[in-house]
Symmetry: C2
Subunit: 340 residues, 2 copies
């Protein structure tokens, strides 16, 4: 019997995926998860010593959408020397009513889009409603998607400050290009509506930051507890593997902490280090974000709360975003069919 | 930058893969493993209750060949009602020098071919050299590949007996078709060289079986200890998931037992039940098959030894077989290119 799979290239994904629909899709997954309609399968991670590279397999099951699948991501930083992308990966999606393969697609762009959406949902759900000032810590490849999604989800934001802990010139460059990139890459026209500035003075800028998104590769805290004002929200994106850490663990003593997936957050997320240090236990986690989105758990309670969203990343988000892309591509007659 | 992946369909795999080359490839992987040049990553397994289906992800790294990747297999037995194959899956292969994706292919045929090769290598390595009589327990989808590979690897075999513990008519049918299928599907002409018979009398046929391949879905022992003659070899293929079991655990008390991967065999292979029952420990395993193939461990020591090869299946075998198929397809101008 003849079977086919649809392959979507990164170029095709860029043509079909719209960030606001990705945000809606990610929100739907978080809610499905809160309703017990998902399974997050154990992640697999491997370090290639000689290549200084990392490989990561995430997989899971969206029972509501009847989809399962896996994402393999490769991070080979030395690739740049050979003119190859450092960050590549593939997402494979199956129909869970039959086990038939549905689609294979570039996982790198999907990951960027859904991670931006996750950060944005953290901010929208857990930052103060009247937030004006967003601080982005990290100005790497993913930062662009964090800014874009958060501005879409939080139109009340007026100022976006960007701090690069490793390279201040990088933050300057990021800020100088952001409006043009938002228009060119995501068709978002924010000209004049938001002020973008690069900031070197992390301690100072934290004084009036309503929401902070951390998206670095740090393995020791960048943000010290004593710098943080009451009421601040943190969406922590960078700490998605063992040993990675962006916040002072002491912050967890008083903050209201939320997980994308409790098990993953304690195992290798921003919560890993405070958990291992005995600062928090599983019971210290207020809820998963999906429970707050679904209305079954409280998020922020007072304007003075410090709230933390630890996003370790779920293949479930990739599956839903990938299926969205597949549906949109079909409507536009895009996608490459291959016999399997 | 433009990147491509090659997709190979099951039809293309059948055109390019030759079983003797697959056997050589699988042997090479076992030896690489014995030399510490491979990594078997944790497997992921999930049961879909409503669909009565199972999903399995195996992944790993062949350092010698600089390949890594993952295989997702789906077993949806109720598919038959809808005219769909019950057993489907995809294999994704990456270049481990760069993390770039190389190929996506049907995993079902690859699995059949490499599993046949594994069983054959077990028999060739651990059965008595003058073995004449092969017994196949199980006459399902995989049995055909077991017979084919074992006859290729052991040309001294004269008799193949087939026993189906669930359905004796199935064994009859299997035997009536085997010569024609070997010729048609694998271009193996054995006409007149080997006697094929269906056997209902399992206890009797065990009396003069030199080598036994078990390839069933059994979850309780089919073969009783008291039925087994000294000198018999068992290649156990069926027990590749938690709870599956084909041999009487008591057999492990005196047999020389070999693993494809010690950790997997104890966790979910034929060794799982005897291990949990305290009949064997990790130290009871003589060696991994690759060590015997590489000459760093002894296999069978005397003609009277009962030897057992527990094959749980390794993604490493799929990677090597898949790469072999990719190379052969390129030479023949086969394979579908897709942009990614």
């Amino acid at each position: 019997m003849h079977m086919e799979i649809t392959v979507l290239s990164q170029a095709e994904l860029k043509q079909v995926l719209e960030l606001d629909r990705v945000i809606a899709s990610v929100e739907s997954v978080y809610k499905q998860k809160a309703g017990g309609r998902t399974a997050v399968w154990p992640s697999v991670e491997y370090h290639f010593e000689e290549e200084q590279a990392v490989m990561d397999i995430r997989s899971g099951y969206l029972a509501g959408d009847k989809l399962h699948g896996a994402k393999m991501l490769n991070n080979f930083p030395l690739n740049a020397q050979a003119g190859l992308p450092a960050f590549t990966g593939m997402l494979l999606i199956f129909d869970s009513t039959s086990g038939m393969p549905l689609a294979l697609m570039d996982a790198s762009y999907i990951t960027s889009m859904r991670t931006g959406a996750a950060a944005a949902l953290g901010v929208r759900t857990l930052a103060r409603k009247n937030s004006k000032n967003l601080l982005l810590v990290g100005a790497g490849r993913q930062a662009f998607f964090m800014v874009a999604a958060t501005l879409l989800a939080m139109p009340q934001l007026e100022n976006v400050r960007v701090h690069d802990p490793l390279d201040s010139a990088n933050a300057e460059k990021f800020v100088s290009q952001i409006e043009r990139r938002l228009k060119a890459e995501l068709n978002l026209n924010l000209s004049g509506k938001v002020n973008f500035t690069a900031r070197n003075d992390l301690q100072a800028v934290l004084q009036d930051s309503d929401a902070v998104i951390t998206v670095t590769r740090a393995t020791s805290p960048i943000i010290k507890q004593e710098w943080v004002q009451s009421g601040t929200h943190f969406s922590c994106i960078g700490a998605d593997m063992l040993g990675k850490e962006e916040l002072d663990p002491e912050l967890f003593r008083t903050a209201r902490a939320f997980a994308d997936d409790k098990k993953q957050c304690l195992a290798f997320g921003e919560m890993e280090i405070p958990y291992k240090a005995g600062i928090i236990s599983e019971q210290s986690i207020q809820a998963e974000l999906g429970e707050v989105l679904a209305g079954t758990a409280a998020g922020r309670i007072s304007e003075a709360d410090i709230t933390i969203f630890d996003a370790t990343g779920l293949a479930l988000l990739d599956l839903a975003t990938g299926k969205l892309a597949l549906d949109l591509a079909r409507r536009k007659g895009l996608g490459q069919k291959a016999s399997i």
